[in-house]
């Protein structure tokens, strides 16, 4: 898994690539915590290059979403979730916790 972070004026973009499983989820968790601990709660996660997400990965995203939405201070937006990943997410009823965009620009532009 690779993580690239860009800080914009009104949100942060995190581009993730590779697999998000029990082995890599803690690394992502750390990076996202760095961002939220800096008081930045508007996140765009570009998942175009992510080809596998297990429940351990989803929990990281969901915990981050909870933190960001608290006090209405922000939100995690997902971009380009691959169909199979999206399907598994919906299957366990977690799809509704995220707004999913087709391209990064629209997600960034929505903040």
């Amino acid at each position: 898994m690779e993580i690239k972070h860009s800080q914009f004026k009104r949100c942060d973009l995190v581009r993730i690539s590779g697999r998000l499983d029990s082995a890599t989820a803690p690394t992502l968790e750390e990076r996202l915590e760095e961002i939220t601990e800096a008081g930045r709660y508007r996140l765009v996660l570009d998942l175009s290059e992510v080809d596998f997400i297990s429940s351990k990965g989803w929990w990281v995203l969901i915990n981050t979403q909870k933190k960001c939405k608290r006090f209405n201070r922000g939100e995690v937006l997902l971009v380009n979730v691959q169909p199979q990943i999206r399907e598994s997410l919906n299957l366990v009823g977690m799809g509704k916790y995220f707004r999913i965009y087709d391209d990064v620009a629209s997600a960034v532009g929505s903040f």
Binding site: R19, S54, S55, W59, L91, M94
Partner: protein, 138 residues
């Protein structure tokens, strides 16, 4: 009909190798890309549960993984020597809760069942805990 068996160390680092081992067999069994993803995800969740619950942590025991390519799909058998459990006593996750109330656990077993066509679990003193997952070809 091809079969293969490999022993993996019970730690998260093995998961990627395990998934690759499964994916190869799944392709050989003629599963489509959705099917391959489904069985990979089910096996990943099952192995993760073995590490977390059966062994109670990483590096406490191995995962014995067998694949059987059948004419109608792929059978995966996972064996561990850890603590047994009763899948029928695990409550289904509550789906559709408000975000605030969601607790980050309890969907693994549910996902496994949804991803495969058949899930069996039995435990015996001699053999250990055996989980069998079958994914039908479409």
């Amino acid at each position: 009909m091809k079969s293969a068996r490999r022993l993996f160390a019970g730690r998260y680092d093995s998961l990627n190798e395990i998934r690759e081992f499964i994916a190869e067999a799944a392709q050989e069994a003629g599963l489509d890309s959705q099917g391959v993803y489904a069985i990979k995800l089910a096996v990943d969740e099952a192995c993760c549960n073995i590490i977390d619950h059966a062994y109670g942590g990483e590096n406490r025991g191995d995962i014995d993984c067998q694949v059987d390519v059948r004419s109608d799909g792929l059978l995966v058998t996972l064996i561990d020597q850890g603590k047994p459990f009763d899948p029928n006593k695990v409550p289904s996750p509550q789906i559709g809760k408000p975000l605030k109330e969601v607790k980050p656990r309890g969907v693994g077993l549910y996902l496994i069942k949804k991803m495969v066509d058949k899930m069996e679990y039995r435990t015996s003193a001699g053999q250990g805990n055996v989980m069998r997952l079958f994914k039908h070809k479409r």
